[in-house]
Every structure is written in structure tokens, then in C-alpha cells.
């Protein structure tokens, strides 16, 4: 927007161009002020309506109490460490498992047909089941079998469920990336004497993965938020800590504190994703700016 502010009466500029520049400046000023006014009017009206609603005093007290925010925050923060641990471990496993599944789905060897079928069925079935239900099935169902050697820890099953569920989505992201690599790349690799596996490993995947980094990060943001689901299994993560505080005091501010912690992680990540997308577009010549 601010680039190329041409000097007003520099001698090198024709009168026509000067007029054009002046007109563009006026247009910019106009859209800026319209934007500012409409923003103030819209948000101001919303704020007025909320603040003047008959229940506002009660809502303010129970959702925006600074005392309760301060009192609940340390516990919630300690719970949030559990969220971070869970989603970091899960993300590493998901990226690996999904990549393997995606490669299997895109394999061409007739020998691998049963594996291919299995991977397709896995994605279809798991993607169709809500994560929360998977969590109940895995977290309460499998330990109840009381099998020898099967771990019994809540966090283990929480992470397993997230890995199982998210791998199905991320497999599809990888697959889209692999399929976006032009067939000629593979053909060229094969003609150079690379085996099918080698051309996947050294030619297709490096291009595919780079292309899907933004959607992968997008799924990572979703995973961070879904790490709150593991509270169901008894794990005291940030949301559960907040819920405990809320139930003790009947004041909802603690939820706000938990939301803030999630935002502190997801917003920078979302901005970073946007940045990567922009950079990629510039690189591949999609948009010049």
C-alpha cells in the first residue's frame, strides 16, 4: 500500500501521471476512512448491545472477573504443559505414520495391493468417526480388556487416539501433495534409472511435502485444540483444570484463561502458516507483489 509514494511535482512525471497518482491517493484516503468508520460503527454497536443487555452485569462478573483470572491461571498453566507435551509427541508420530500411509496409498506395485486396500479402509473408517468417540473406545475400551503388556496409562491412550485419528486426515494431505507432483517428474526419474521407490523418495516426496506444509500446519493447529479432548480420560490438562476451578467457584473466567493459552500458541502458528503460503506463491510465480 505505501510503496512508491511518488514525489508530487517531480519534473520527470507527466501531468497525466501526476493526476493519476493524486487520484489514487485520494482513493486510498477515502477507503481508509470508510474502513475505519465502518469498523468503529460495527464494533461499537456490538459493544453497546452487549454492554446494555440486561444480563451484562452478571455475565461480566462470571466471565470476565480479573480476580478469578489471576486465581485460576497458575493451575491452568501447569495443566497446559500437559497439552503441549501431548500434542508435540502426537504431532511427530502423526507426521510419520501419515507419511507411511500416504506412500502406501500411492504405491503402484501389485504386490502391495492388500496394504493399499488396508490404508484406504483405514482412512475411510477413521476419518468418519468423531475423535471424541475414538477416545472413549481406545481410552476405556482397550484397557478394560486387561491384556498383558498393554499399557494402561491415560496419556498413552490419549496420544494413541490423537495419532490414530489425525493420521487419517494427514494421510490425505500428503496424498494430495504427492498427486500434485507432475507425472513427468516420476517418468524422468525412472528414465534416469531410479527405481520406483527411489523416485518416490528422492524426487516426488521432497516436492510433495514442501507443497503441503501449510495444510499440515493447519492440521497441527487443530490438533493443539483437540488436545483438550484428552481430559475425558481423566488427564488434568488446561481445560480440565479450568473446569475444576469453574465448578468450585461457579465462575466461568477460568475458561477464558485456558482459551487465552491456546490462542497464544495457535495465532502465531496461523500467521506463520500464512507467511509460508505467501512465500510459496511468490516462489512458484502465483502472485507477484
Amino acid at each position: 500500500m505505501t510503496e512508491a509514494e511518488a514525489p508530487r511535482h517531480s519534473p520527470g512525471i507527466s501531468p497525466g501521471r501526476a493526476r493519476r497518482l493524486a487520484f489514487q491517493r485520494a482513493q486510498r484516503r477515502r477507503s481508509l476512512s470508510i474502513g475505519a468508520i465502518s469498523t468503529i460503527v460495527v464494533f461499537g454497536t456490538v459493544a453497546l448491545v452487549v454492554v446494555n443487555s440486561p444480563g451484562w452485569e452478571a455475565v461480566k462478573e462470571s466471565f470476565f472477573s480479573w480476580e478469578d483470572f489471576k486465581a485460576s491461571f497458575p493451575e491452568i498453566l501447569s495443566g497446559f504443559a500437559t497439552n503441549v507435551r501431548i500434542f508435540l509427541i502426537a504431532e511427530v508420530l502423526i507426521l510419520f505414520v501419515a507419511l507411511v500411509l500416504a506412500v502406501i496409498r500411492n504405491s503402484r506395485s501389485p504386490l502391495l495391493t492388500p496394504l493399499r486396500l488396508g490404508a484406504t479402509a483405514y482412512v475411510d473408517v477413521i476419518r468418519g468417526i468423531p475423535t471424541i468417540i475414538l477416545l472413549y473406545l481406545f481410552g476405556f475400551g482397550i484397557p478394560a480388556l486387561r491384556l498383558q503388556g498393554v499399557p494402561n496409562s491415560q496419556e498413552f491412550w490419549a496420544i494413541t487416539t490423537l495419532v490414530v485419528s489425525y493420521s487419517a486426515y494427514v494421510t490425505e494431505v500428503y496424498r494430495a501433495g504427492i498427486e500434485s507432483v507432475h507425472e513427468s517428474q516420476r517418468a524422468a526419474a525412472r528414465s534416469l534409472g531410479l527405481t520406483s521407490g527411489q523416485s518416490m523418495r528422492f524426487v516426488v516426496l521432497p516436492q510433495a511435502v514442501r507443497r503441503v506444509i501449510p495444510p499440515l500446519l493447519n492440521d497441527f493447529v487443530a490438533l493443539q485444540k483437540d488436545s483438550a479432548l484428552v481430559a475425558l480420560l481423566g488427564v488434568q490438562e488446561a481445560f480440565r483444570k479450568a473446569q475444576i476451578y469453574v465448578a468450585e467457584t461457579f465462575n466461568f473466567t477460568a475458561y477464558l484463561a485456558a482459551a487465552l493459552l491456546f490462542l497464544l500458541l495457535t495465532i502465531p502458528l496461523a500467521r506463520f502458516t500464512d507467511y509460508l503460503i505467501r512465500r510459496q506463491q511468490q516462489r512458484t510465480g502465483g502472485i507477484r507483489s
Binding site: I40, L233, Q236
Partner: protein, 278 residues
């Protein structure tokens, strides 16, 4: 911009103050005649409770059959206030919704809600209708079954439902070495216990007896803790803050024979060993 926000805020506060002032006209000298009661629905006593509800508080997940301790108490109160059984209507109120700000769609909520000073600031409670002892549920053949003191109990992995005084009891009184497991509902907590994910579950005593007798084979009430009693933990009915109906319900509660209802529906708990509080 800043001034604008401040202006909005001031305006809002003024308007809000005006809006809330109108509410509390009728007060004091409450008459508990049925036609003078303030009700959410004319001529009907609307009572809230969760869904599902469990034995022995209510039977067959049906609050309207008058069976189970809380259902029986609710109908006894309704009768005292002059309502027939047909004039009682039940609405589903999950525990976490019962204290949300805003208008309530029930006259009172009965759902084993413990009276605490913090909660009392946000809602109103009736007098206690039950003195709740906490109890420890464990498998009879497991290590926890031999525990006889609070100190020994600290080494075990315990669990409870979120928002319950059972959880507070674990945190404040038992203070276990490992962080307790906390579940959304008692049903989840029981499932985890049954799956062997925790050593012991803390519940109120009647629920613990029901679980050990009927629901989970091999489990037993390992101990009870004398947390109830006149000065201890009590269950109360929950009202919207300032609801004048509360005084009438208290009057009704004083007139009904709670001990007899308790005798009918709740185990007396004498066969569970008591672990003294320090």
C-alpha cells in the same frame, strides 16, 4: 477512539444499572400459599435434574416416578407446597448448566449438589436435605482394600468426577502423591475404574454403595470418611440467586420427615469402615 470506548462503557454501565434496578420489588413477608409462589411456569413446580440420573438418588433414570431418595424428597416438598404429583414438571439441567448466569428454566435443581460458600455467592441453596459422607470405592482383592488411614491412602492413584466435593476431598484432605484423575461424569469415572486405570474412586457414600452392590463386580466400599454431619458437607437444592421460593422450600423441608425417606432409599452405611479425618 479511547474516549469513544470509555463513553460506550459509561453509557453501558448507566443503562445496565437502570435495567437491573427494576427486578427486586417483591421481597420479605413471603407467603407460601401455592398461588403466591413465584414460579417459572404458572401453577406448575418445575424441577431440574441431570440426565442420566442414578440410583439410589433416582430410580430407572426417571425422576418423575417418585422413587429414589431425591425424587421422593422432591415430591414430598412439592406436596408440602400444595402441588399434586401431576403439577410437578421435570426439566433436564446438566450440573454445569445449573449455575450458568442468566434466567433459569427451573424453580429449583436437585442433583446431589453440595453447598459451599463460593457457590452460594452465585446461586442460592436450600437448607441441606442430606449430610454427605465421602466414601472410597476400590476392588476388594486389590492393595487399596487394606488401607486404614488417610496417610496410607496417599500412595494410591485416585479419581473423581469434576466439580464434585469428592474431588475437593481428594485434593484438600487426602492430598495424594500422584495427581488425581478427573472425569466429566461419574459414568466415565466408573468406566475408568472398571478398566483398571485407577486404584480408587471417591464418591458420596450412597453412590459408592450402589456401585459396589450393583454396578461393578468385585468392587467394595473400602472406607467412608465422616465429612457429613451438621457442620459438614450437605446437599442442597439450587435456586437462582434471590429466588423467594427458597424460603418456602426450606419451610417445606423442615416439615417433612427426611429421616424416614432416607431410611427408605439410602443404605445406612454402617457396614463400611470409617477412616477418621486428621
Amino acid at each position: 477512539m479511547k474516549r469513544y470506548i470509555a463513553l460506550i462503557a459509561v453509557l453501558g454501565l448507566v443503562l445496565a444499572a437502570c435495567a437491573t434496578d427494576g427486578g427486586d420489588g417483591a421481597e420479605s413477608g413471603v407467603s407460601c400459599e401455592k398461588e403466591n409462589l413465584t414460579l417459572v411456569q404458572e401453577g406448575v413446580l418445575t424441577i431440574g435434574t441431570d440426565d442420566p440420573v442414578f440410583d439410589p438418588w433416582m430410580i430407572d433414570n426417571d425422576p418423575s416416578n417418585g422413587q429414589g431418595f431425591e425424587s421422593a424428597v422432591a415430591y414430598a416438598v412439592a406436596e408440602e407446597l400444595g402441588f399434586t404429583a401431576e403439577e410437578v414438571e421435570w426439566v433436564v439441567v446438566p450440573f454445569n448448566n445449573s449455575y450458568a448466569p442468566g434466567e433459569k428454566d427451573f424453580d429449583f435443581d436437585i442433583n446431589q449438589i453440595s453447598i459451599t460458600p463460593e457457590r452460594d455467592e452465585v446461586v442460592d441453596f436450600s437448607d441441606g436435605y442430606y449430610n454427605a459422607n465421602q466414601a472410597l470405592l476400590g476392588f476388594a482383592d486389590s492393595e487399596i482394600a487394606s488401607v486404614t488411614t488417610l496417610e496410607e491412602l496417599r500412595a494410591f492413584r485416585l479419581g473423581a468426577q469434576v466439580g464434585t466435593t469428592s474431588l475437593d476431598f481428594i485434593n484438600d484432605v487426602i492430598q495424594p502423591e500422584t495427581e488425581p484423575l478427573v472425569y466429566d461424569t461419574n459414568a466415565d469415572a466408573k468406566a475408568a475404574f472398571d478398566a483398571g486405570q485407577l486404584d480408587g474412586l471417591v464418591l458420596d457414600l450412597p453412590t459408592a454403595f450402589y456401585v459396589s452392590d450393583v454396578e461393578i463386580e468385585g468392587s467394595a466400599v473400602i472406607a467412608q470418611f465422616p465429612t457429613g454431619g451438621e457442620t459438614g458437607e450437605q446437599f442442597g437444592m439450587l435456586f437462582e440467586e434471590g429466588n423467594p421460593l427458597r424460603d418456602c422450600v426450606n419451610e417445606a423441608l423442615a416439615n417433612i420427615d427426611l429421616a424416614a425417606i432416607q431410611q427408605e432409599w439410602l443404605s445406612d452405611g454402617v457396614d463400611a469402615p470409617v477412616i477418621a479425618l486428621d
